[in-house]
């Protein structure tokens, strides 16, 4: 019997490929932001610029007549640059995918070349045993077939790269000169216009999601560049698209306002610029941080960006991770002294929380800080003395939580976390509006709001209302506890900006202390190894610190690892004396939360 053995060929080399799709995406993002500046310029020329203040008929008419070609050209430039930006962004996405495939091809090629060489060795000299010859033939045939598959993948990869390059070069070549731009784009309707006109009038996030899903890809891309303020801040629109839009707004503010000399900025321009810079620092902080388990850099999603909201305090929400796809999502609501300029410290908190969640085994997490309400800060600090700002904030937070639920079609796990006055805000959102959160965490809470008599009132089940209160956290002692009036605490002795706000809270009556046994929530351990010996403010701001009991327990809650949450004894209130906190006698621990 004759056995024919064909040795497998040496696979072709994988070509060099050092393109960086993420850098290309950055280039596309910058071009899109610039297109947005042209878009605004077109709107200005077609609107406000017409109101010249010239009353002389001939001069006014000449002025207005001259505007028409300028506006037409600005609109054409906007559309042309946007098209180029979209082409570059698409090319960047394709390069990211091609890079992954290239890595796989290279690895396949190395493996197959080794295997082909090994088979050549086995065939020289040829084995004499027939069974061994049969095995060699089978191995050669299998390897040849794998090499053919590799070669076929390599051809496809090469063709896909060329197609992607051809597409982007065609787009760029079509918009290189102003003549080309005017010929192709002047007078062309902006696809953003029709898309904007079809937007639902109410703020039902499900209707918004349905509308957004019904748009073409071109319309969505157009709206992101032309109306970033709308897309970036409308609940129901997916987080990735909101973030793309808010990136346009934020980068445009940084570029435009940064170009105005500081001594020539108006007060509003300066406020907007300061808030933009604060948001930029927070974004940068997130993107420079790494997941402790994968060592990969985090990506930031800018979920809200509204720098002039609340009289210049601003609104901003930013996530570590992907809000559209993460299995576990948390929303952290800060309290006292919060405005947009505190974005950096809030970013640090949610970075820590994400890192801890990852360290505790969470593999699909997004942690977002939410400065989405007018929190007591600066001159507003007097507002802390009432629940008004928390109640109004609760409504806004409920809208955000509803929006997150509407933009997701899957069943994900959502945790709302409130710190300090933010815990009162979270409690109001839950009791007054019943948004679809799965778990609630109240940290250093001055009270769960007047509308919540017990944990059950928050609507998620008392077993899903978690409370973290350091026993020496002064603010955590301000809620109504049994018969003790919070105003009885000698808050008047406090000094400094934060102390003054706490002093006001002492008499505010922000509701029940959620750490008390009567409230019925799950209290978890949240002591600090650097805990003070008397009630103080320092212990109010340690909950998100690494290697603390509170961060470890919050990470477990965010991950849905309820059995791992270390319970703490609740505050109780015997008739014969003041409230008793059993945690004050326990020696605090310092669990590792990030592996460092």
């Amino acid at each position: 019997m004759t056995i024919t053995i064909s040795l497998p060929p040496t696979p072709n080399e994988t070509p060099e490929f050092d393109a960086d799709g993420e850098k290309v995406q950055d280039a596309g993002t910058t071009l899109r932001t610039s297109s947005s500046i042209f878009d605004d310029h077109g709107s200005f020329v077609g609107g406000k610029a017409k109101d010249s203040g010239l009353l002389d008929g001939q001069a006014a008419a000449a002025y207005v007549q001259a505007l028409s070609p300028i506006g037409r050209h600005a609109d054409a430039c906007s559309l042309a640059l946007r098209a180029a930006a979209n082409a570059v962004l698409g090319h960047g996405d394709e390069l990211v995918d091609l890079a992954k495939r290239h890595q796989q091809l290279r690895s396949d090629r190395e493996h197959l070349a080794r295997e082909a060489a090994a088979l050549a060795s086995r065939a020289n000299p040829l084995p004499t045993d027939e069974a061994e010859l049969q095995r060699l033939k089978a191995d050669c045939d299998r390897c040849t077939s794998q090499i053919e598959a590799y070669e076929s993948d390599l051809v496809r990869w090469t063709e896909d790269l060329k197609a992607s390059e051809d597409k982007v070069t065609a787009a760029l070549r079509g918009a290189m000169t102003e003549t080309q731009i005017d010929q192709t784009y002047a007078g062309v309707a902006d696809p953003a216009d029709a898309a904007r006109d079809s937007m639902p009038s109410g703020k039902d996030p499900k209707a918004v999601k349905a509308w957004w899903d019904g748009l073409t890809e071109e319309q969505r891309a157009a709206l992101i560049a032309a109306d970033p303020e709308i897309v970036g801040n409308t609940d129901g629109i997916p987080a990735a698209d909101r973030s793309a839009a808010n990136t346009v707004s934020l980068d445009r503010d940084l570029a435009e306002l940064g170009a105005i000399p500081e001594d020539q900025r108006t007060d509003d321009e300066q406020t907007r610029y300061d808030n933009a810079k604060a948001a930029d620092v927070a974004r940068d902080k997130i993107e420079r941080s790494k997941d402790p388990m994968t060592n990969e850099h985090y990506e930031a999603q800018v979920y809200i960006y509204d720098p002039m909201a609340f009289g210049g305090d601003g609104r901003v929400a930013m996530a570590v991770g992907d809000l559209d796809t993460a299995r576990n999502v948390s929303v952290s609501v800060p309290g006292l002294t919060t405005d947009m300029e505190s974005a950096q410290s809030n970013a640090e908190n949610v970075i820590n929380l994400h890192q801890a969640a990852s360290f505790e085994g969470g593999t699909s997490t997004a942690t977002m800080f939410w400065i989405g309400y007018d929190a007591p800060s600066g001159a507003d600090s007097a507002g802390v003395a009432t629940e008004g700002m928390a109640a109004a904030g609760g409504e806004r937070l409920a809208d955000t939580l509803d929006g997150l639920n509407a933009m997701r079609s899957d069943d994900f796990h959502l945790t709302a976390i409130g710190h300090s006055y933010g815990s009162t805000t979270v409690a109001h959102a839950m009791t007054d509006h019943h948004p679809g959160a799965d778990d609630v965490v109240l940290l250093g809470s001055p009270g769960a709001g007047d509308d919540a008599d017990s944990a059950d009132d928050l609507g998620v089940g008392s077993g899903h209302v978690f409370v973290g209160t350091n026993s020496e956290d002064l603010v955590g002692r301000l809620g109504q506890t049994g018969w003790v009036s919070p105003a009885a605490i000698g808050a008047g002795v406090l000094t400094g900006p934060l102390g003054g706000v706490v002093a006001q809270m002492a008499g505010a009556g922000l509701g029940h202390n959620p750490a008390e046994d009567d409230f019925g929530a799950v209290r978890f351990q949240a002591e600090s190894t650097s805990r003070g010996s008397i009630p103080n403010i320092d212990d109010h701001v340690k909950y998100y610190d690494h290697d603390t009991e509170s961060l470890a327990n919050m990470a477990h809650i965010v991950n849905g690892q309820y059995d791992d949450v270390v319970r703490a004894g609740q505050v109780h209130d015997p008739w014969y004396r003041g409230p008793v906190d059993p945690e004050s006698d326990r020696t605090p621990t310092s669990p590792d939360t990030d592996g460092s």
């Binding site: 490929f17 393109a19 960086d20 799709g21 993420e22 850098k23 290309v24 950055d26 280039a27 910058t30 071009l31 932001t33 610039s34 500046i37 042209f38 605004d40 310029h41 200005f44 406000k48 610029a49 109101d51 010249s52 203040g53 010239l54 009353l55 002389d56 001069a59 002025y63 001259a66 300028i70 050209h73 600005a74 430039c77 640059l81 180029a84 570059v88 090319h91 960047g92 390069l95 790269l161 390059e165 982007v168 070069t169 760029l172 070549r173 918009a175 290189m176 000169t177 102003e178 731009i181 980068d251 570029a255 435009e256 940064g258 170009a259 105005i260 000399p261 020539q264």
Partner: protein, 101 residues
């Protein structure tokens, strides 16, 4: 006698054109900063030329805005100077038409 110019409006619209100049200059700067590093060699040189072309386009648009601002102020001043021959208010308004940024 009625003025042929609303000085406050001229001032604010001209200032808005000045702001457009600054914004478009910022766009030019932004475009110039776009790197070609991430692209394949086949595309990179074209991106370089594209960036150069658009930096120039944005710069020209910025200059055009500056010209609009200056032109508007200049037209208003010419009209007010004529009016000033017969109207003291026009004389007073003349000094308010000046470049802010």
């Amino acid at each position: 006698m009625t003025l042929h110019v609303e000085p406050a409006k001229v001032r604010s619209t001209a200032a808005a054109w000045d702001t457009e100049n600054l914004h478009l200059t910022a766009a030019a700067k932004q475009i110039k900063a776009v790197g070609t590093g991430g692209f394949t060699p086949t595309v990179a040189s074209l991106v370089g030329r594209f960036v150069e072309a658009w930096e120039a386009i944005a710069t020209r648009s910025a200059s055009a805005s500056e010209s609009q601002a200056d032109g508007l102020r200049s037209t208003a001043i010419d009209i007010l100077q004529t009016d000033a021959k017969t109207d003291i208010n026009a004389s007073l308004a003349l000094s308010s038409i000046k470049e802010i940024r």
